[in-house]
Amino acid sequence: MTLTETTYWVVGASFAIYILIAIRARAGTTQEFYVAGKGIHPVANGMATAADWMSAASFISMAGLIGLSYNGYGGSVFLMGWTGGYVILAMLIAPYLRKYGKFTVPEFIGDRYYSDTARVVAVICLIICSVTYVIGQMKGIGVAFSRFLETDYETGLFSGMVIVFFYAVLGGMKGITYTQIAQFCVLIFAYTVPAIFISLQLTGQPIPQLGLGSTLADGTYLLQKLDQTLLDLGFQEYTTSVRGSTLNMAAFTASLMIGTAGLPHVIIRFFTVPTVSAARTSAGWALVFIAILYTTAPAVAAMARLNIVQTLQPEPGQHLAIEERPQWFRNWERTGLLGIEDKNSDGRIQYNANPDTNELVKLDNDILVLANPEIADLPHWVIALVAAGGLAAALSTAAGLLLAISSAISHDLLKRTFMPQISERQELMASRLAMAAAVLGAGYLGLNPPGFAAGTVALAFGLAASSLFPALLLGIFSKRVTREGAVLGMLAGLTVTLTYVFQHKGIMFIPGTQFLGDMPPNWFLGIEPNAFGVVGALVNFAVTLGVTRVTSPPPPEVQALVEEIRVPVSS
């Protein structure tokens, strides 16, 4: 069987499982559609949350971001940021929103701040975060299809849309939960198997997390070898190269952490468990399942980087002849993820940190995960598995985001704000229609990605951190914060973050419209735009608390609501 045939079989089988689950897990009520009937076991929800959370970017790009773009230590911001948020979620957000016990995040903000304006502002924040995020997933689906199944991008995207449409429209949260559990199993298996092989080959240690700290065949430590090799090539040392400055790294990490705790599609997963204490343990389980990938990723990053460097330069001063480059190298050149240019015409590839003499002119971040099985010379089924895993990661995250978007429309905008008279059956129908529209909309944006799609991560996390997170936190921990404070705070956080990102990256990321230029000297305290969410959040807190001081306190029933959500027992 050729590689493409094997890949079709493996991906086809995984899709068949998702469809089967969708047929069995149809939603009959709005409670099932929005929160899966609140009957999901905490461990199962942990698994679903892990799949919901780990996107195409985590699966395909993160190891490359750490190993290549951020040159090792600098990439720690993603590792700490995208896991540390779960501690905040488990302690400060999830248990109380679970106790509140309704369906969506804007619904809580609307009730707590006794205002339809607050609800609508929260819906707007949610839609901006989730839509920018979902575009990246749709692109991931199209790219994974076109690279592994040799379809064109559009066909890949349509196939993905059909699958998501099927289980998300039929089953809502219920269908999504069970497919996410299956998708987690596929993606974690697909990620760890190649990592175990590559770790065995380099260090003889089957556990990649330990392999990263082990010795190579020649007795030197892997990380020491990598540090030395990169220094010789003119790069910074792998284990110490800081991204920007210490302050920038701290701000970046903090932004990703609080952004994680403010992302609605993650928060609503904790509405599906039966009790408040289950919401806490479920966050723990989610992090266990996430950590399997997130502690494997830095090992993959360092090992694959070392593999690539040693392929190009087997001994110091010795460079790989272009004619002798391995088959995987040629394969990935065809996709444009790798590119060489023999600048000094010596028939050999010089790889180093100097842009004038470096001849590996294209080295895409995604190559580290995608080409890993081929570099390690693993069998076809493993390569096919990586394709299925990448698709599982993209599909599961896309479905979670689409649910957050569609429930904000059908529940918060229709039922709670503009058409409160509709019946439950009508609302269920509306939620299915909203889901169908969201899938089509996401597909359209995947086909015609707007210019700002490149800034997805910056925008989604920055906005969640600076708009929704402070409103949620203060809503739980203060009885005094008023609607005026919350609404103005959210708007201020949103504006500050958007302005900062746009002034450096261009308005809506359109090149040429940035008015301050995207360069470090113009950054506020040296903080890059991707890391600015935490500053936006501080502005939000300051505005909210300031305005609260000069407005009259919330009505007694709202203060009673806050009292009520703080304890698990119902009175």
Partner: protein
């Protein structure tokens, strides 16, 4: 409205809850932004097997500690709820 006794229990619960949040939150901050970012250079002078210690905290150690923190928090809160009788009735 809850009785005075119930209100007092709730107040105890909330005070204990905030205390645990502060303790565990401090650890959370120390291992990630502390050991992983602010004090990474001095910690890197210490070698843990093949890892520099600061680098290890930033890329693995902090994540392991995060997991422990969440389960510890879940445990102490469940106990506290049992002690004060403020847990959910088993559904």
């Amino acid at each position: 409205m809850p009785s005075e006794h119930a209100a007092q229990l709730r107040e105890t619960y909330w005070r204990e809850n905030r205390r645990w949040m502060l303790i565990l939150g401090a650890v959370w901050f120390l291992v990630s932004l502390g050991c992983g970012v602010l004090w990474v250079e001095p910690l890197n002078q210490i070698q843990l097997g093949g890892f520099k210690l600061g680098f290890w905290f930033a890329q693995q150690g902090s994540i392991f500690v995060f997991i422990v923190l969440i389960f510890v928090y879940a445990r102490v809160m469940a106990r506290l709820e049992k002690r004060l009788g403020l847990g959910e009735s088993e559904a």
